[in-house]
């Protein structure tokens, strides 16, 4: 089974504070992990993918296969980071590739 768990539905922090959005996954094969973001009234867009090991808008995420986690972190949150964040897992569901999302975490960064 392919499953993504985001334990926090809501996360509220103040501007300048560190933020961590948690993501755990369940998958028997070699996982592909992503973070997608949905800003207000915009379509979902890719933020990060684990294979790139990049930092986008100050966000980073490290794949920890031992803990089956892919937490998203940013050292200093900005108000424009307020959005819905989804962790996603790509893999073969049966014979075909599928992309499974967690329930999402709504991040609010307060001034």
């Amino acid at each position: 089974a392919q499953r993504v768990t985001q334990p926090e539905k809501l996360l509220s922090v103040f501007k300048g504070a560190p933020v961590e959005l948690k993501c755990n996954y369940s998958y028997s094969g070699s996982p592909e992990l992503f973070w997608y973001v949905q800003y207000s009234r915009q379509r979902l867009q890719l933020l990060l993918r684990h294979i790139s090991r990049e930092s986008i808008k100050g966000f980073t995420a490290d794949l920890n296969k031992g803990e089956t986690s892919f937490h998203l972190k940013k050292p200093f949150a900005q108000e424009e980071d307020s959005a819905m964040y989804y962790c996603a897992l790509g893999g073969s569901g049966g014979s075909n590739y599928k992309l499974t999302f967690g329930k999402g975490t709504l991040l609010t960064v307060n001034p």
Partner: protein, 113 residues
């Protein structure tokens, strides 16, 4: 315009009616997906497709039908709409391959009354 587009953007329909949501992409991406987005449930996969004429059920397929006769189109049909199918529906496509980005449509807000 290049990209992935959904139509209609908004739809109100009555219980029991059949309704089809359209999804069209211009990249010739192999994989396409339909999700519904509901508060408290996030994005749930309804159906997905690896290529023309190849479709698979996702997490919540009951009450939905898909087809993919052409690579660029992936319509989603609600055979007999129910109030529980009131939701925002998103279509997505990916080219394929490890770590490939998914591109999403702008969504269709469907209300079943």
């Amino acid at each position: 315009d290049a990209g992935i587009t959904q139509s209609p953007r908004y739809k109100i329909t009555e219980t029991g009616r059949q309704v089809t949501l359209m999804c069209h992409q211009t990249w010739s991406h192999s994989y396409m997906f339909w999700y519904r987005q509901d508060l408290g449930h996030g994005l749930r996969l309804i159906y997905y497709s690896a290529a023309a004429d190849i479709t698979d059920k996702g997490e919540v397929p009951d009450g939905y039908v898909v087809s993919r006769s052409k690579t660029e189109n992936f319509p989603l049909t609600l055979e007999s709409a129910t109030r529980s199918q009131t939701s925002v529906y998103f279509c997505a496509s990916i080219r394929g391959g490890v770590g490939t980005e998914a591109f999403f449509g702008q969504g269709t807000r469907l209300t079943v009354v």
